[in-house]
Amino acid sequence: MNRWFCAALVVALTSSAALAQEKSALKPGFVFPNDHPVRILVFRPDVKVGSQSAGGIVTPMADWTAEARTFLANALVAGKPKGASEIVFMPELSGDDGVLLAEYRALFRGVSDTVLQHRLFKGNRLPTKKTGFEYTLGTGVARLGQIGGGDYGLFITTDDAFGSTGRKMLQLFAAGIAGVGMSSGKHTGYAGLIDLKTGDLLWINADYAMGGNVREADGASKRVAQLLEDFPLQGMPIAAAK
């Protein structure tokens, strides 16, 4: 059995991260209006932080996840997205509103998975999705805008697994003894913006190899800046009335 096959096998065995790639897409022609303040409603981010063992199994880490959640929220407020006048967070909801929110979170996940798989990255694009950017959650989402008080909704997902000592040692040995390249750690994330009146997906940005150590305040700021890279701009200011 040749070494290249083995190398490929080990890579497959260790569930290494996908090829480093980062990409964003914007609904053609969209700019934020500039005739009124823009309120962006942030939904509770999906945050996972874990530790990756030598075998690639991820152990969820409670403290890291809780800290990352706080750091990321603070960083979002501090580093307000370019087009936003104001950032508001969706409050905890229960009862029918809670169910509605859960449904739209799930729907957003489904839609963004589709965009990530079939639109954003080369290699697996559907021929009909190569151009254009027509995705929507439907107008029913307006109810969430009313509840949370926002014009646009921002969804954020980050998934981190830091390579454990064992993983790093195996990485070294694999390279040194077997001549096999192996990744350590997984750091992926994506962010999406929807219009809370029409439900249209306006912008999405995904990165399978993100920077910024989310377990620290500075790192979380860097992560948020990367997630909001290429965030849509506010329209050109209207010329002052003569």
Binding site: M1, R3, C6, L9, V10, L13, T14, G50, S53, A54, G55, G56, I57, T59, P60, M61, A62, D63, T65, A66, L93, S94, G98, V99, L101, A102, E103, S164, T165, G166, M169, L170, F173, A174, I177, A178, G179, V180
Partner: protein, 394 residues
């Protein structure tokens, strides 16, 4: 392998071993069912936090059956079974999924699928499953499972890399994962035995635990017969099965039943029926939509062991009408008609009767049935369509 390679192998193996064992991490102790218990150590804290997140989502899920009376009953059964102190550590959720399953999460969240509720014949069978899940919780099987997965995957990777380095690639996956799944099946057996012991202590007839599995095997047969295929109930499930086979569980639980809870005679069939019967229309409806005619017929027949009630006859009509083979619609009309003659007939029985008759071209016969249905259910969502079928102007 030459001597140099061998030395290298030993050195690397020693380092691998060291990296696998995490030093100075506090080891969880005591029962997690102790009042006020908090997770101990990084691993347990991690999987608890992860389960908390899942629970948070489940609470707002559309699939959650929000029925306080039902949940209170399930809690009551668990408390009767494991005692009123231990049981408060668990939170039971009913999830609308028409398959036989229940799951325990490390943090005490216990989910029961509606597909399990339709299959239990009595409270003792419910208790067998709740006790099994509670056994997983108390024995920390979630935590041990994570550790086993982690160690398995790490050993595979280390040994694979070493074998490549030694120029003699070997595939360790089958042996190591096979071992992990054997461990998983052992955990299931352990939970089964914990469950049946708790059943025995609580006074339930312990043979019921075994009867769950014999029932599922008969259902497999019924499904296969109606589909004209071979029953899979005794097909080996292979090296990577997470649970022991139903036949095995049926057998060892029957053996255990003569050792624990000897003399117990409480089945709780009437109690179970009283607590669950208001859900049957939904459970049966979901079951019929699985397109498993044989399995559904089998389930209806076992629910009808004490006689065919209005709701059961109605359900049988729905089952036949949904399959819709040549004589099925006619057959369904007979079941609906029988149902309408029962004191506990659901209003939908008249709807089914009307639709079945109309489908067979008997419009004059369909009209009074549909009229009767709309009289009993004036708010029917499909009223305009039904009126059209009955040949009335809207």
């Amino acid at each position: 392998m030459n001597l140099g390679n061998l030395r290298r192998f030993i050195a690397v193996a020693a380092i691998a071993w060291a990296s696998l064992s995490v030093a100075s991490e506090p080891k969880p102790f005591g029962s997690p069912a102790t009042h006020g218990y908090q997770p101990i150590g990084v691993d347990e804290k991690g999987i608890w936090a992860e389960s908390d997140e899942t629970e948070r989502e489940l609470k707002n899920s559309k699939l959650l059956v929000r029925d306080e009376k039902l949940t209170a009953y399930l809690n009551k059964v668990l408390c009767r079974e494991v005692g009123s102190e231990r049981c408060t550590a668990a939170r039971i959720y009913v999830v609308r999924q028409p398959f036989f399953n229940a799951s325990m999460y490390p943090n005490g969240m216990l989910t029961v699928f509606t597909g399990a509720l339709i299959r239990f014949r009595n409270e003792a069978q419910l208790a067998a499953v709740l006790g099994h899940e509670f056994g997983h919780f108390e024995a920390r099987h979630g935590l041990l499972g994570l550790k086993s997965r982690r160690n398995t995957a790490s050993w595979i990777n280390w040994l694979t890399v070493i074998s490549i380095g030694a120029g003699q690639y070997q595939d360790y996956r089958t042996a190591f994962w096979g071992n992990h799944y054997r461990f998983s099946r052992d955990q299931e057996r352990d939970a089964d035995f914990r469950g049946i012991r708790d059943m025995g202590t609580a006074g339930y007839r312990t043979l019921n635990a075994s009867q769950i599995w014999s029932g599922l095997r008969s259902e497999d047969d019924a499904t296969a017969t109606a589909r004209g295929v071979k029953s899979l109930k005794d097909s080996p499930q292979g090296l990577f099965a997470s649970h022991p086979m139903n036949a095995e569980r049926m057998t060892y639980l029957a053996d255990e039943a003569v050792k624990v809870g000897v003399g117990n005679d409480f089945d709780g069939a009437a109690e179970y029926e009283a607590a669950i019967s208001h859900l049957w229309p939904m459970l049966i409806d979901d079951q019929i939509k699985l397109n498993d005619f044989g399995g559904s017929e089998f389930l209806l027949a076992s629910l009808a062991t004490n006689g065919w009630t209005g709701p059961l006859l109605y359900a049988r009509g729905e089952l036949y009408r949904a399959r819709g083979r040549a004589t099925d619609v006619q057959q369904s009309a007979l079941f609906y008609r029988k149902a309408t003659g029962m004191p506990d007939a659901p209003a939908q029985a008249w709807r089914g009767l009307g639709l079945a008759l109309a489908r067979n071209g008997d419009r004059p016969g369909a009209k009074p049935a549909i009229d009767e249905y709309l009289k009993r259910n004036p708010q029917a969502g499909d009223k305009p369509m039904l009126l059209m079928i009955a040949g009335e102007a809207q």
